[in-house]
């Protein structure tokens, strides 16, 4: 069974050592997903698997046979930017831009988790079925994505605009 990348089926690598990150970047030339630390500490390599955010650097590509992967290249539709991509530009959600694809993929997955009621470290009421993305909730839920330029204020503003103010699903 192949693997689906942004809706297109691709053959799996023969060598089981190939990480999902290297597979995307080196085998498929999808260089939007970035290699930061390559050890699960920075979040730059975040992609979506069947809608859930994961770290592609710690994933062996072969483990994801038959699954559906979405990278930053697959978020926009017909050449139009994803609402988060537009909001990141408007709110200066980056400086150098290296962490940005990971931040955006992570935020897409984060919004889904909040809608499903998955609690976070700062969630006060564990019985709550839905999560309101307050400033604290959003910061905590995005803590796996580091930005060494320190564009966090713009990042939080962009995500807030899309998922709180505009209520994008």
């Amino acid at each position: 069974m192949p693997i689906s990348i942004n809706g297109i089926e691709a053959p799996l690598p023969n060598d089981p050592r190939v990480s999902l990150l290297d597979y995307l970047r080196e085998h498929l030339q999808l260089s939007g997903t970035k290699k930061g630390c390559n050890q699960g500490a920075c979040g730059a390599c975040t992609v979506l698997v069947d809608g859930d955010r994961i770290l592609s650097c710690l994933a062996l590509a072969i483990q994801y046979e038959g699954r559906s992967i979405t990278t930053v290249e697959g978020l926009g539709v017909d050449g139009a930017l994803h609402p988060l991509q537009r909001a990141f530009i408007e709110h200066d959600g980056f400086q150098c831009g290296y962490c940005t694809p990971g931040q955006i993929c992570s935020a897409v997955g984060m919004a889904q988790e909040a809608r499903r009621g998955v609690p976070s470290h700062v969630t006060t009421d564990l019985s709550s079925e839905t999560i309101t993305l307050s400033h604290d909730e959003l910061r905590e839920r995005m803590s796996g994505n580091l930005c060494r330029c320190g564009a966090y204020n713009g990042i939080v503003a962009a995500i807030t605009e899309v998922y709180v103010t505009e209520g994008v699903e």
């Binding site: 859930d52 710690l58 483990q63 997955g109 803590s143 796996g144």
Partner: protein
Amino acid sequence: MTPFTYSRAADVADAIRQGIEPRSRYLGGGTNLVDLMRETIEQPRALIDVTGLSGAITERDEGSLLIGAAATNTAVAGHRAVRARYPMLARAIVAGASAQIRNMATVGGNILQRTRCTYFYDDDGSSCNKRAPGRGCDAIEGFNRIHAILGTSSACVATHPSDMCVALAALGAIVHLSSAQGERTLPLTDLHRLPEDHPEIETVLEPGELITAVELPALPFATRSTYRKVRDRSSYAFALVSVAAALELDGGVIRNARLALGGVATKPWRAWKAEEALKGKPASAESFRKAAEAELIGAKPLRDNGFKIELAKRTIVAVLGELTGESA
């Protein structure tokens, strides 16, 4: 990475049949094992992917909760019964790692993750008895601010890094195991070994033995439970000290208590002495402090981590205070 073969286990029987092979390893989410393989600290010849085995979370008639070992950390923390009946477990899980890692990491893999001792990871320059048995431990005389004060030996002072396991220890979780010899169960607190003279042997698992599930016994008073983690930054960092606690109160008297510590010990540390000291005592800061003293009396500080003794005591007092309704 050293070359290896990869296969997917069709079921438990298939997994343990393949797991008999020497130097094979079961693969969960890979969040620790893949990293260790990249560093060549782990060099398995065969990976057996067990993420397709049961990750079901089932409420059973006698009141227990059975969690398949392939359940992701996110699935457990988000499960309605876990949040309602075992809040300390949901809180412990979401205190650990990042959301991306919790989406990948399995329950079985979390239990068997290895220490983040910097000397264990420093394959090029450091001696470590876990990596190379008998070579010595550079942490004991080195930078050991993050290391253990309980359960240590002259061979190893590395902490067990899991948050989830601290809650499992406090809840009296039972681990279900399967191997070619059959099935057995063990309390989680008996699964991990103290380092003693053989820190490279971290659990009592037999070669090829597989964790298939974790069972949370019925514990009605665990609805009054929580987990607090003290760390160097407010998110996405390992614990300096953590406390999982549950209290059963009868008026102002403690009828029953569950307490476990993380970040301070070589294995998930059930605080049996503190629990015993709490039973039958008034739910007061004085009782809490005495219980904390009883547990930490055997703590052995190293050069840089002596602060953990007082920090652990204060965190225990604060968490028990929180559970009795005082804010701290």
